[in-house]
């Protein structure tokens, strides 16, 4: 049994310690935001936050993150009460097919939590590891810019799920 803390809730999962975090999130915890893209850490669709930093969950065996804090898009808000990052992506209509978007949101969340006043250039540089094949990069960039402003005004934003048991 491996103990994982995801979006503030503790889970015990019965998996091989070498299982990628992505599979545990999707298959065992039914948190389907993070996506499988390349499985090689090259596309960013699987990006989640671990202890506040963006990581590729497809390349992260769960054994490495026991006892650490994992956050996924499900931890950013709910359908009824979306968090600032989610509001920004909806308002800017940043998704086309949407497959890369959860990864984009988590990379942006990690970036803005570490650097709330990130410049446009810093955002552009920070988002570099994540790819979008539809080509909605400009909308994604404006969504992250909007999230930066929303997060400033809503510093006690709803981080749904946090602190609650699942």
């Amino acid at each position: 049994m491996i103990k994982l803390n995801v979006n503030g809730a503790t889970h015990e999962v019965d998996v091989d310690p070498s299982t990628p975090l992505l599979y545990v999130l999707r298959n065992d915890l039914k948190l389907n935001a993070a996506k499988f893209g390349c499985g090689l850490g090259q596309c960013g669709a699987c990006t989640v936050m671990v202890d506040g930093k963006a990581v590729f969950s497809c390349l992260t065996p769960v054994m490495l993150i026991e006892g650490r804090q994992v956050k996924t898009v499900e931890g950013l808000g709910t359908i009824d009460n979306p968090g600032p990052m989610q509001v920004a992506f909806m308002e800017e209509q940043a998704a086309q097919c949407g497959y890369c978007i959860p990864g984009m949101m988590m990379r942006a969340q990690a970036l803005l939590e570490a650097n709330p006043g990130a410049s446009d250039a810093e955002i552009r540089a920070g988002m570099e590891p994540n790819l979008c094949r539809c080509g909605t990069h400009m909308r994604i960039l404006s969504a992250v810019g909007k999230a930066r402003e929303l997060m400033k005004t809503a510093s006690v934003a709803p981080t749904a799920g946090e602190g609650k048991a699942s």
Partner: protein, 461 residues
């Protein structure tokens, strides 16, 4: 009697000091107006571009995200931080007022136009041998770049190293001047390679160990050194590549930035191979011929070990996963390391995708066979960032995924499993210092010809 001796001694000291001052004092060379582009032959400018690539001038004289050749890159040294200068032809802040004579003097003697001694972070200890003709071409190239007005940053050096006159003493001790001498017994190709590698190429600046005063150790030419937080491997008989380099493999590696038997150039070497893309095949071949001649013919023992490695790599390519150290060894650290390898590394490093886009099979890794773990730590933590705007080999960094303990276990496993060597003893402390930035590492994309955008030099700040 004693008084006379004492006065004599003081007199002698004064004379010696005056002599040193005369030696150390260099006159200014009169400023000139920036030469007109039309005053240079186009072919000469083009030749200069190639030579600037051999010298990797842009590597230091361009800051990531900054304007080409405008300087400002922080170069950490054991003595303090030195900032590269602006070598664009801007008359106020660059070298726009430098005549060709001033430029050649800087290359040969390490003195700027105004007569100030330059710090040997600028590798004039190699450039002394650059020919007049090559200096002329370099001058033509640099003087026809876009002028950029950007004041050089002040170096951060403690007293007395911040007094430039001190450098005259350093030069007295360590600087050999004089033109390059061909060795008659060697082929023209090898001589050409030695001229490029030891002159403009300044391979020794990274690949030769340095003494306490920062000078290359005379008897240890290319015996392995350090550059920007990376170990620069030995290029002499001490080279640790599992499959010995050949003229052809080294030629291909320098030409394309990777080789299937050795992997992808990483760290500052990625810039070097990126730069060499501008060279003619003949000159790249000459450098390969020269360097491989220094490595010498591999011993019988090394050849046998290489055959064994080829066998293991072939097996692995056929889908046989070797987990000998992880199963039944009873060593918990090795077992944990092996599990991390299988889960996080093997999908690329034991897959069947060919290099450079698939990872190297670790049986082939020089870094794993090296005397220290630094390059492996750098690569695991920071990966290999993507080059800007074009195809390149990449590797994700694992700094946010793996803690130092896990990294230590992983490296212990890799070292035993793939190099058959005892674990490095200081991985945990090195990893901690590297992660915190106490030990400064420059992270570069593979095969970067120009310094890329700001984000990739994450450790430059």
């Amino acid at each position: 009697m004693f008084r006379r001796f004492f006065l004599g001694l003081i007199g002698l000291l004064i004379i010696t000091f005056c002599g040193f001052l005369i030696y150390a004092w260099k006159p200014a060379i009169s400023p000139t107006d920036p030469p007109d582009r039309a005053s240079f032959d186009q072919a000469l400018i083009e030749q200069g571009a190639v030579l600037a690539a051999v010298g990797n001038c842009t590597g230091c004289h361009t800051k990531p995200g900054g304007r080409s050749f405008a300087g400002g890159l922080a170069i950490p040294t054991p003595f303090g931080t030195i900032y590269s200068t602006n070598v664009t032809p801007d008359p106020k802040t660059g070298i726009g007022q430098w005549s060709e004579a001033a430029f050649t003097r800087a290359m040969r003697e390490g003195v700027d136009r105004e007569g100030r001694h330059l710090y040997p972070a600028f590798p004039y200890d190699h450039f002394t041998v650059v020919s007049d003709e090559d200096n002329r071409a370099l001058y033509a190239f640099l003087m026809t770049r876009q002028p950029v007005e950007q004041e050089p940053l002040a170096n951060e050096l403690p007293f007395p190293l911040n007094i430039r006159m001190v450098l005259a003493g350093w030069k007295l001790l360590f600087l050999d001047d004089g033109a390059y001498q061909n060795v008659a017994a060697q082929s023209a190709e090898r001589n050409r390679g030695a001229y490029l590698a030891n002159g403009l190429g300044h391979c020794g600046s990274c690949h030769t160990p340095r003494n306490a005063l920062g000078a290359e150790v005379a008897g240890s030419h290319l015996a392995g050194g350090e550059a920007e937080g990376w170990s620069a491997f030995a290029l002499d008989t001490g080279n640790a590549a599992p499959l010995p380099w050949t003229r052809d493999s080294l030629y291909a590696y320098l030409r394309q930035g990777w080789h299937e038997e050795h992997g992808v150039a990483n760290g500052p070497m990625a810039e070097v191979t990126g730069n060499l893309g501008l060279l003619s095949d003949a000159d790249v071949g000459a450098i390969a011929t020269y360097v491989v001649s220094l490595m010498g013919e591999p011993s019988e023992q090394r050849k046998q070990a290489a055959d064994k490695v080829r066998e293991l790599v072939a097996k692995s390519a056929a889908g046989v996963i070797n987990v000998s150290a992880t199963t039944g060894s009873g060593d918990k650290a090795l077992e944990r390391g092996g599990a991390i390898y299988l889960a996080a590394c093997s999908s690329c490093h034991d897959g069947n995708r060919p290099q450079p886009f698939g990872g190297i099979n670790f049986h082939l890794s020089t870094a794993l066979n090296a005397p220290d773990s630094q390059n492996l730590i750098n690569t695991v933590l920071f990966g290999l960032p993507a080059a800007s705007g074009r195809q390149s080999a990449i590797m994700p960094g694992f700094a946010a995924t793996m803690n130092d303990e896990q990294l230590t276990d992983l490296l212990a496993y890799l070292r035993q499993e793939f190099a058959g060597k005892p674990a490095w003893q200081d991985v945990a402390s090195r990893a901690a210092d590297t992660r915190s930035g106490k030990y400064h590492v420059s992270v570069r994309p593979s095969d970067g010809i120009e310094r890329g955008p700001d984000n990739i030099g994450a450790r430059d700040k």
